[in-house]
Amino acid sequence: MEALSKPVLVIGGGIAGIQASLDLADQGVHVYLVERSPSIGGKMARLDKTFPTLDCASCILTPKMVSVARHPNIELLTYSEVVEVRGSAGDFHVKVLKKPRYVDEDKCIGCGECISKCPSKVPDEFNLGMSNRKAIYFLFPQAVPLKATIDREHCLYFTKGICRVCERFCPTKAINFEQKPETLELNVASIIIATGYELMDPGLAPTYGYGRYLNVYTSLEFERLVSSTGPTGGEIMRRSDKKHPRSIAFIQCVCSRDVKINPNCSAFCCMASVKHAILAKEHLPEVDCTIFYMDLRAFGKGYQEFYNRAMREFGVRFIKAKPAKIEEDPETRDLIVTYEDTFEGIKKSMKFEMVVLAVGVKPVYPEALPLTVGEDGYIRLRNPYLEPISTTIDGVYVVGVAAGAKDIPDSVIQAGSAAIKASIIAGGVKA
């Protein structure tokens, strides 16, 4: 199938951006998919399993990533950022800055030889700093494209002017320390923003002690902790003593549904925590799991049933309360959670060996676009009912969590919906 139309720009290579790109490409539209990190995959690539089916996230995502990489209509621009957008629907002029990987993408075969030889260890952002990577690295082993990237800030050559070990061991002479940033100019008919989210700073809820107490985790950290590809190979162990916790508390609505910090509901945390509790029970059958929640939002297909299973089959305890504070027992590093028992109307506290905070999300937007943001912090839409994905700029669409917190199926649906609209603007169907 040949492209008969003008290209479309998709910004963000998470599941929403991937799906939008594939839908467009399959409609014969040429797509530029711009991703700022070295690999596509987004947050979903970090997930171990997905609710409510417990499908392993990699198993359903990686094939899509592979399809993106080999689709003739998709031009994948990873480690790149959109820096300027001019023009209007049907005729946008976009500047994309391609950051230097210091590795020639055409030559790199992804053998990993350089990585095994690199002497410089750096906290691994993919595992949220819970393990180390090298200064030359793949974002994760199933990265697409599987091309090494040199992290200039930590590379011994760039910082101290010595080493170049990677260059010596690269079998294809792909290392290029002279690589410069490159600016590409694209002309596209339409733009789809799928830039996703980042977690709110858990420090905004200081009473929970994240950062101070070793055994308090964010839900994304816990996700990596239970993942077989994560820093512990799927072993749930405490930061403080590397022991399996015998009890875990999951606290919902941290930095969300809180008028002082962020009033929005993050839509997926309830189910993510239910899933985490089930996974914890699967990994450690003896572990005691408690979920503190305000309203358990099990609204999607099969979610309520999943929630019921967590209660009945896995014996996960649910307490309707928003804990007031967490304190650490300095000896054991256990955590004391204080909450109001709404049943009895009294303050209670409970001790846990690990606490996982379901931290709320905030959207991420490309700065190059003059977008208006609404009171809720999300992009203002032209008409939330009739054109739920249209921004106030004609021809620019927003999908996924960038358009409001949502789960994977809803992100995939929005991506499809945006793809057909962008494809209409791109034109060129031979009907």
């Binding site: 592979v66 297909k301 209409i424």
Partner: protein
């Protein structure tokens, strides 16, 4: 592909999903010694890019001509790995997948030795079958550029709009005489100054003038033949008895002697046998309800435009389309008589009835009144028909009712500021963008929320006053609230005759009857049947915005199909060996698709399978008395080899 089989076996760890309960090393050693196996490799994620590379490399380096992948269910990744074979230059049908995850490691994680033994056997069976696999040629069809959309609610309309704009020819059929589905009868929506009908009108406005869209109301699906890219659809357009000359002068309505309850107003008002279901209905033409019409001809006599024809007959329509979108929507849950006092007291109504009452175009012109009196103490009960609240209720959450309940409570507060409103709930699930703010606003507006677990008891007192009694979870006390209006926030259920539609189009459904998507997460708007797409609430509860988006997403998928000139389908169909066929005709009578015909060959007749019609069930193969009929991918000898391998040590 001739010559001895050279099989490569690729075993996936799937992280620890498989490797956690199956001893991969032991399996690898075992598989190495199986007949025809020349390469065995294992890897953490065989489906990932590096995993796929391992297979491609194996094919090239070891000269493989068959590949066995032991990983997850073939429904998950058969397609992925077939592509890998194709990219390595091997016919994609020389792949056999072994399901050692869903059907082995996950279900035997309590017994590592048993799981390992079973994995070995399953791989052995697959290797045996793989040795007998043949290269197959995919079947291609030219793609018809038309699309059929079943259902004229917002999901169907939004699909139709996007597809027509993209340039495809759309047939939108609606069983009812009006377009707009459930949304058309909703009052004011949350966050905007729009009503349900405004959304429908706006979508309609965008579609009715598009020459690519053909809207057929009163029309039902009769049959679907053919397959992806080339469906042959039969429809029946039931008579409306009133044609486009109708100018809505309402003379007919005045003379019609029949009066029945108006189902479009949820029984809140009466209508005649000739009627317009609700104000602003599209198309703006009266319709005669033939079930209740007495054929008195009074309307015919008075109609000034001669628009009425009682002799109208159902009309059969045939269309050919490349794709089908099912957007048949849902029905509101209808409480049983007596369930929460519903049907016992007229002061117990459903949320949808309330929507009509609060709508300026509704039966009370927007005045909040029941039996002519304005209620002041109002109790909403959510999760009626959902979350197993009552024995008759469904287990799932209907997603939109919490927000809709709060929105309506706020509208009542606007209209009747001194109303006392309680919302009894299990959990407030205002998850959608902006809805949490609605919830906060409700709190600020002094709408009171109370939490129940056991279904509240709605007691209709002899003087017709009502008390709602329940055990309040937060304060842990029994509570009784007097009410002069109880609103049941009912959930969604699958439409009544969805089984008929899904059987004709061949789409599966879940336990409650909502249609099943090809993959819950990553293929939410596709059916497992090629060329069939699902939009809106037909797959499960959604709010309006989500339904409209799902319509768009389905349109996008249709567009990916219709943009192609031709479509390939799996060649796993029946095939006749002419040399062996005796022309006994047994297969012809067995085929449910009439895909087999007899053909004269020399002095004899032999069966012939039409590849465009055969769906690959294999029923004819099992029935064929001579073994002349076989199924690609499931030949007798292939299945027999699996049986053999399961036992011979």
């Amino acid at each position: 592909m001739s010559g001895e089989p050279r099989i490569g076996v690729y075993i996936c760890h799937c992280g620890v999903n498989i490797a956690g309960s199956v001893n991969i090393k032991e399996v690898v050693e075992y598989v190495k010694n199986l007949p025809n196996v020349v390469e065995v490799r294992d890897y953490i994620f065989m489906c990932s890019a590096p995993g796929q590379e391992i297979i491609k490399e194996g094919i090239k380096k070891c000269g493989l001509n068959r590949v066995v992948v032991a990983a997850c269910s073939p429904t998950m990744h058969e397609h992925t790995f077939r592509n890998v074979l194709a990219e390595a230059g091997l016919n994609p049908y020389l792949l056999e997948m072994v399901n050692i995850r869903e059907q082995c490691s996950w279900v035997h994680s309590d017994n590592r030795q048993a799981a390992t033994t079973k994995a070995k056997l399953l791989i052995k069976m697959a290797v045996a079958k793989a040795s007998l696999l043949e290269p197959l040629k995919e079947i291609t069809f030219k793609v018809n550029k038309n699309v059929l959309i079943i259902g004229g609610g917002v999901a169907g309309l939004s699909s139709a709009r996007d597809l027509a704009r993209k340039g495809f020819n759309v047939y939108l059929i609606e069983k009812k005489p009006v377009i707009g589905g459930n949304v058309a009868r909703l009052g004011r929506l949350a966050h905007v100054e729009l009503k349900g009908i405004d959304i429908v009108k706006e979508l309609l406005h965008q579609v009715v003038d598009n020459p690519n869209i053909h809207i057929l109301t009163n029309t039902e699906l009769v049959s679907v033949g053919g397959s992806v890219g080339d469906f042959k659809v039969k429809l029946v357009k039931n008579p409306r008895y009133v044609n486009e000359n109708c100018n809505l002068c309402s003379e007919c309505v005045k003379v019609c002697p029949v009066e029945v309850s108006n189902e479009y107003e949820f029984g809140l008002s009466k209508r005649k046998a000739i009627y317009l279901p609700y104000r602003n209905a599209y198309p703006p033409i009266y319709v005669i309800d033939s079930e209740n019409c007495t054929r008195c001809f009074e309307c015919v006599k008075v109609c000034p435009t001669q628009a009425i024809n009682l002799a109208e007959k159902p009309e059969e329509i045939e269309v050919e389309v490349g794709a089908i979108v099912i957007a048949a929507g849902h029905e509101p849950y209808e409480p049983l008589i007596g369930e929460f006092g519903y049907g016992v007291s007229s002061r117990v109504i459903t949320l949808f009835q309330l929507e009509r009452i609060l709508d300026e175009d509704g039966p009370t012109k927007g005045r909040l009144e029941v039996n002519g009196v304005q209620p002041k103490d109002i109790v909403f009960i959510t999760c009626v028909g959902s979350l197993n609240t009552t024995p008759n209720a469904y287990p799932y959450c209907s997603r939109m009712c919490c927000s809709s309940t709060i929105k309506n409570a706020l509208i009542i507060k606007e209209k009747v500021p001194n109303a006392n409103i309680y919302i009894l709930h299990k959990d407030i699930r205002t998850y959608s963008r902006g809805d949490e703010q609605l919830y906060l606003k409700a709190g600020e507006s002094l709408i009171r929320f109370a939490r129940y677990r056991e279904a509240p008891n709605v007691i209709v007192n002899p003087d017709e006053s009502i008390n709602v009694r329940f055990f309040e979870e937060t304060i842990q006390e029994p509570v009784s609230i007097p009410a002069d209006l109880v609103v049941l926030s009912v959930g969604m259920k699958p439409p009544r005759d969805i089984d008929k539609v899904r059987t004709i189009v061949k789409v599966g459904c879940g336990p409650e009857g909502f249609l099943r998507e090809a993959h819950l997460k990553l293929r939410p708007v596709e059916a497992a049947t090629d060329g069939v797409y699902l939009a809106g609430t037909v797959t499960g509860p959604k709010n309006i915005i989500e339904s409209i988006e799902a319509g768009g997403a389905a349109a996008s998928k249709v567009s990916t199909l219709l943009t192609r000139e031709e479509v390939r389908i799996e060649p796993l169909i029946a095939v006749v060996n002419d040399e062996k066929c005796s022309g006994c005709l047994i297969c012809v009578g067995i085929c449910p698709y009439n895909a087999i015909k007899l053909r004269i060959q020399g002095d004899a007749r032999v069966a012939e399978v039409d590849p465009a019609l055969c769906k690959g069930c294999g029923a004819c193969v099992a029935s064929c008395p001579t073994g002349a009929m076989q199924q690609f991918g499931f030949k007798d000898n292939q299945l027999e080899s699996q049986v053999l391998a399961a036992f011979t040590e």
